[in-house]
């Protein structure tokens, strides 16, 4: 029953994306050409990676607003390492990026787990701290394309079976995390911790530790994306991906992840990210100013979360009027 509901929701979202593409293709048939769709997917890959991490965090009833700052800080560090040691192989850079991101995720996770500080407060704080550190280490300067080594910039763009490596990493992450969330103890624990933390505790699940792991995974994905982002756009500065954390949360909410925890799938996060990605890429095509994008994602968040609230309410069971309902 629950499974059916979730799948139907994803089917609904897939339908919405198809309708969106159909409408655009009426006027601009080139938009739905396979090569363009592939480039839209590639463009959305960073959002997909971060949305997967965010989905896991939200599942455990937390929220991670520091992902974009984590991405920017990792990106700046690896860019500066690349400038200092141009001959360092990309594999090392990748390891450094993931480790650095993991470390930042662990800081968030530890503060939530060991000190029991509300996640929103922790990550609002670390968000500004990470951004501030970028300024401190870079002195506010940019690392530009010509300073980066060719290998550093080539990695995410290299083509493999017709798709860039960036897209393949996103696809791989979707597969890996689908397995992690549905076939491992941690995955079950994450759903349980967010769904009913008391019951989870009595079932022997360490809720705090599960949240810690979720933050760590989110941080690792943000770190990985940090390198990919900086090398793809070939520039690093303090404000890269500014405000991107909102897009990430939006992708999750649109993908049916319940902000109150316990409900959501990797597939939903993927579709939510793709929905936003299609809109973002379609705006310039249909000749709407890019300044509309912020308002559109805001409206999308509100509409999606309203629909979520409706869907969850329909399950019935309310005997006494709860305080959250209109009195």
């Amino acid at each position: 029953m629950l499974r059916k509901l979730i799948t139907s929701r994803e089917a609904l979202l897939l339908g919405a994306i198809a309708v969106l593409l159909g409408l655009i293709s009426l006027r601009f048939p080139n938009f739905v050409a396979p090569s363009n769709l592939a480039s839209v997917f590639n463009d959305t890959s960073p959002l997909i990676l971060l949305a997967i991490g965010q989905m896991i965090v939200i599942l455990t009833k937390c929220i991670d607003l520091s992902v974009a700052a984590n991405l920017a800080l990792t990106g700046m560090v690896v860019a500066m390492i690349n400038v200092a040691f141009p001959n360092l192989p990309v594999a090392f850079i990748l390891i450094i990026a993931v480790m650095l991101g993991t470390l930042m995720g662990m800081v968030n996770g530890l503060l939530v787990w060991k000190l029991d500080i509300p996640p929103i407060v922790v990550t609002l704080g670390t968000m500004t701290i990470f951004r501030g550190i970028i300024f401190l280490i870079s002195d506010g300067k940019w690392v530009n394309s010509h300073e980066m080594s060719p290998a550093f910039k080539a990695f995410p763009r290299a083509e493999l079976f017709g798709l860039p490596v960036l897209s393949w990493i996103a696809i791989l992450a979707v597969i890996v995390f689908t397995i992690v969330m549905t076939r491992t103890t941690f995955g079950r624990a994450a759903y349980a911790a967010g769904g009913n933390s008391h019951a989870a505790t009595y079932a022997g699940i360490n809720v705090g530790r599960t949240q810690f792991v979720a933050f760590t995974l989110s941080g690792a994905l943000a770190g990985l994306t940090g390198y990919l982002w900086v090398s793809r756009y070939a520039v690093a500065y303090v404000d890269i991906a500014g405000g991107f954390e909102l897009d990430v949360v939006a992708a999750c909410v649109i993908g049916g992840v319940a902000i109150t925890g316990g409900i959501g799938t990797v597939g939903g996060a993927l579709l939510g990210a793709l929905f936003l990605g299609v809109i973002k890429n379609a705006l310039p095509v249909v000749n709407i100013s890019p300044f509309w994008q912020l308002a559109i994602s805001g409206a999308a968040i509100i509409i999606a979360v309203t629909l979520n609230a409706r869907a969850n309410r329909r399950k019935g069971r309310i005997i006494l009027k709860s305080a959250e309902q209109p009195a």
């Binding site: 929103i120 506010g140 008391h198 409206a299």
Partner: protein, 334 residues
């Protein structure tokens, strides 16, 4: 967003002897904060020879007055268990609306009405989303945060509104008496009004009741949804007031106005001892917290510390003030 680790929380121990009032007030968060404020004040006056100057100190108040207006209303909202992250975006939208009104030839009284009206409308929108549709306030206001600022970007793009009338400048640049600015007078007035509202009225009691137990409050006859709606309205209104003062002080409007203020305002409220999960907190605490943050940023400014480094300090302050008491109690219970 709840802390969610309720199962592992230490149960509240009922004390066998109630501490005396004096002891209680001395050990309170507010008096600790007051000490911090005094310490920062003294440190600042040693660190920079320019600090102890009436005009400089008066300038320093502009660092926090506008944010504090919003913090007062937000404190009530957070005590009631909700949050509004869209406040900075409301400033942007209200400022944009006032800019548009200026282009249409509006005078100062109309501008003030436009600013307050936009704030009220935005607050009402947030309130409806939370109380009528039952959305969690944190996501709803993350959504409206993008929406309100997004509308500002749609209207203005990379342009700016200028040309505000000369008498409009009074709100942000005017002085009532010697070095006492209009903004500071308004700060004191609002601090008194909100303190009375929270601590001396039925409405204030209802706010605490809702924050501690919304269902219990509902069954005691409190109109929970209505009180929450009014709190969202007040927060929107205060954002409108802040928008008027900030726009008047800057004399121009860009869609990026007041970026990141929501963080500083939430920090101010939390630093003031308000529980982010709702249920407790005092208005005088928020007032002292406003001074602390104003003094810190002003002191660092005198020492030529760049703005982004100050934001590190504010971020660390936000986490630190919540972490330290918890570390302390953990250490004590060992």
């Amino acid at each position: 967003m709840s802390g969610s680790n309720t199962a592992t929380e230490v149960a509240n121990v009922i004390p066998d002897r109630i501490k005396s009032r004096l002891e209680q007030s001395l050990k309170s968060w507010e008096s600790l904060l007051m000490l911090v404020a005094i310490a920062i004040f003294i440190a600042n006056s040693f660190a920079s020879p320019y600090f102890l100057n009436a005009w400089n100190l008066s300038d320093a108040t502009f660092n926090f007055t506008e944010k504090a207006y919003i913090a007062f209303a937000l404190a009530l909202l957070i005590i009631a268990g909700e949050i509004d992250l869209s406040v900075a975006a409301i400033i942007a939208l209200a400022s944009t609306a006032m800019g548009a009104a200026v282009q249409a030839g509006a005078g100062t009284p109309v501008l003030v009405l436009v600013g307050l009206g936009t704030g009220l409308l935005c607050g009402a929108f947030n309130g409806l989303l939370v109380t009528r549709l039952g959305l969690p306030s944190i996501v709803a206001t993350i959504g409206t945060m993008s929406l309100f600022r997004g509308i500002s970007y749609i209207i203005l793009g990379d342009q700016a509104y200028r040309g505000y009338p000369a008498d409009f400048a009074f709100f942000g640049q005017g002085y009532v008496f010697w070095v006492i600015s209009f903004e500071f007078v308004l700060f004191v007035l609002l601090a008194i009004v909100y303190s009375i509202l929270l601590h001396k009225t039925n409405f204030g009691r209802a706010v605490y009741a809702i924050g501690n137990n919304p269902t219990g409050a509902l069954f005691s006859g409190i109109r929970v949804a209505r009180v929450k709606f009014i709190l969202f309205l007040l927060t929107g209104l205060m954002a409108g007031v802040a928008a008027i003062c900030l726009t008047s002080r800057l004399g121009s409007t860009r869609p990026s106005i007041a970026t990141g203020w929501e963080l500083e305002i939430v920090t101010m409220v939390v630093l003031g001892g308000v529980n982010i999960l709702g249920g407790s907190g005092t208005l005088p605490g928020v007032v002292i917290a406003a001074f602390v943050m104003g003094l810190v940023t002003f002191g660092l400014g005198l020492l030529n510390v760049p703005g982004i480094v100050m934001s590190i300090v504010i971020g660390a302050l936000l986490i630190g003030v919540i972490a330290l008491p918890r570390l302390w109690s953990k250490w004590k219970h060992r």
